[in-house]
């Protein structure tokens, strides 16, 4: 996977149908080291990655800045972007291709609030977590009523 940086148009141009937010971020960071590319306004801010202990860390969030956007490759395809890729202040991270192509973009965003270090035992999947929540609700129904909300009735 290669991401081309088009500084003049503030575009991060993909060449594959599957990419992670981290890969796009890394491509930009490596590009910034070259020549005087740092004269351009930064494309990203990022947060996360902080170690929580026990092999856990806050998952990284990547925010596009200063008008930078991701542009898919010039082909009909389903584009999958994995990871927390957002536009700072809101917006759509991906812009259309230059040519007339049909591109469907799938954002695959981890639901867990914690990243899990690879290696060792793995955490439950999103489906397992969902199933467990539903099961608990069925086993221990608890409905919020207006009276309960106002404190007139005990739960």
């Amino acid at each position: 996977m290669t991401t081309t940086v088009d500084a003049a148009n503030k575009r991060l141009i993909l060449d594959s149908a599957s990419v992670t937010a981290k890969e796009i971020f890394r491509a930009w960071a490596d590009w910034m080291l070259l020549s005087d590319n740092s004269k351009h306004p930064p494309a990203f801010s990022a947060t996360g990655g902080d170690d929580l202990g026990g092999g856990l860390s806050i998952p990284p969030y990547y925010f596009l800045l200063n008008g930078w956007r991701v542009r898919p490759m010039e082909a009909n395809h389903n584009l999958t972007i994995t990871g927390n890729l957002f536009v700072d202040g809101g917006g759509v991270p991906v812009v259309p291709t230059v040519g007339t192509y049909q591109v469907t973009v799938n954002y695959t965003v981890p639901v867990q609030a914690q990243g899990i270090a690879t290696g060792g035992s793995s955490g439950p999947s999103a489906d397992l977590i969902s199933d467990e929540v539903v099961a608990k609700l069925i086993a221990h129904p608890s409905f919020l009523t207006v009276a309960k909300f106002l404190g007139l009735q005990s739960p």
């Binding site: 960071a29 080291l33 004269k39 306004p41 930064p42 990022a46 990655g49 902080d50 990284p60």
Partner: protein
């Protein structure tokens, strides 16, 4: 004891010995006479007059002639009218004579030797060893005693006494470690020649607070790389974009001005050739003219002296005097340091300094035409962040990048990044007319790259 100035302190047989048959006058360091302190020629002359007033000595011609005590003009071997063979017993005796010069005769009106009374005026440090030479290329000769000098120096000798005449030039020096150097040349006194009279030299020294290290340190860095080269042809050096001529080039080896000064002063005390790579032949250090002087914290060179390889932070506290004796100074070069926090320091990092908003369009920081600031040498202020602090300089008076007017403050934007270690960060600052500009980048730890 002190210098004997009265004939009463000269006792025949103790301090002074008169050998009539041999026709010599001898001074002996005994009784009231200390060799280093000496006795004035006037006291000796007066003593001889008194002695020759007695019958004991009147059977011999009178040994001396005093032309003028104030100017210290004396002669031995003549009484002013006739010539005898009276002379000083030896050089030990001659070295004890003070406050005058003299001519020596040997039975005729022809001068056989002539001694000028070299007298140092001013205070020099205790134990200092002053020295002199009688031609600009002559090796130096120490005065016979330490401390301030007052002694006869032979400036002329006939064919039987050295066969030389060096009455046209004289220079006295006092160069001691840790003291400011003093030297005085004959021309400084208004005289054009020496002779049988007093010759005053203004020689005084005092503590030199700019000396940075003992002599033993001169073989180590940075001193070992600081050298002096004397050239016969002019060497061109550019100052502020104009070329000027110099014949003495000091290699500063990137040291501070104080360190350069320390090494140069050291070299000027050496009795060896200090001309490292110049074309002007051997230059004995201790007889070369002073090359550098501090006036406050400003280093001032002597005529035709230039220093290569000085620190950028020092470029505006030095004044050069070119081969024509005109003062030349560097345009103001600002200097400062860029500080980085730990995540940014190391391989795979990059920093770059941009003008924030130069005149014109499309060249602000963040635009495709953004302009990297050049340092004083014209190189971009950018690179790998190899240390937590990186020094830089900037041609404040000469930089016109981006259409700026020279000599004005410049807002700048500093950026840095080290993927996997330090996140991209930018900070703003201003390049001013200062030697202590401080810019810094503090990046968050990059935990999202790896």
């Amino acid at each position: 004891m002190s210098k004997i100035t009265s004939k009463a302190q000269l006792n025949v047989g103790t301090e002074i010995v008169i050998d009539e048959p041999g026709r010599t006058v001898r001074l002996v360091a005994a009784g009231n006479l200390v060799a280093k302190d000496g006795v004035t020629l006037q006291a000796v002359y007066s003593k001889l007059v008194d002695l020759w007033a007695t019958a004991t000595y009147q059977d011999s011609p009178f040994p001396m002639y005093a032309i003028d005590a104030l100017s210290g003009q004396y002669a031995i071997g003549t009484d002013g009218a006739t010539y005898s063979t009276w002379s000083w017993y030896d050089d030990t005796t001659r070295n004890m004579l003070r406050d005058g010069g003299w001519s020596e005769y040997a039975g005729s009106s022809a001068i056989t030797q002539q001694f000028a009374g070299f007298i140092g005026l001013g205070a020099i440090s205790s134990g200092a060893q002053p020295y002199y030479h009688l031609a600009s290329t002559d090796s130096p000769t120490n005065f016979p005693f330490t401390d301030q000098f007052n002694v006869g120096v032979k400036v002329y000798g006939d064919a039987s006494h050295g066969n030389f005449d060096k009455r046209a030039y004289a220079k006295a020096f006092c160069r001691e470690y840790g003291k400011k150097y003093a030297s005085s040349v004959l021309a400084d006194t208004g005289a054009t020649s020496t002779g049988a009279n007093k010759q005053n030299f203004l020689i005084a020294n005092s503590d030199d607070l700019k000396i940075q290290a003992a002599d033993g340190a001169m073989t180590g860095a940075p001193y070992s790389g600081i050298t002096v080269s004397y050239y016969t042809a002019n060497q061109v050096r550019s100052i502020g974009g104009s070329n000027y001529n110099f014949k003495i080039i000091i290699d500063g080896n990137g040291a501070t001005l104080e360190q350069i000064y320390t090494k140069v002063q050291y070299l000027l005390r050496q009795g060896t050739d200090i001309n490292t790579s110049g074309t002007a032949g051997a230059k004995i250090g201790k007889i070369q003219s002073d090359l550098l002087t501090f006036v406050g914290d400003t280093l001032v060179t002597s005529n035709s002296v230039y220093i290569d390889n000085i620190q950028s932070a020092d470029s505006n506290r030095i004044e050069f005097y070119d081969d024509g004796g005109t003062k030349r100074t560097n345009p103001y070069t600002s200097a400062g340091t860029i500080s980085f926090n730990a995540p940014l320091v190391g391989a795979g990092s990059s920093y770059r300094l941009f003008f924030t908003s130069p005149p014109g369009a499309g060249n602000d920081y963040g635009e495709a035409g953004a302009i990297t600031v050049n340092d004083a040498s014209g190189d971009p202020i950018a690179g790998t962040i190899s240390a937590a602090s990186v020094a830089f300089d900037y041609d404040y008076d000469g930089n016109t990048q981006g259409g700026f007017t020279a000599g004005t403050d410049r807002p700048v934007t500093l950026v840095g990044i080290r993927p996997g270690y330090g996140k991209f960060v930018a900070a703003t600052g201003t390049l001013t007319r200062s030697k202590t500009i401080a810019l810094s980048l503090v990046a968050e730890v990059d935990r999202v790259y790896a």
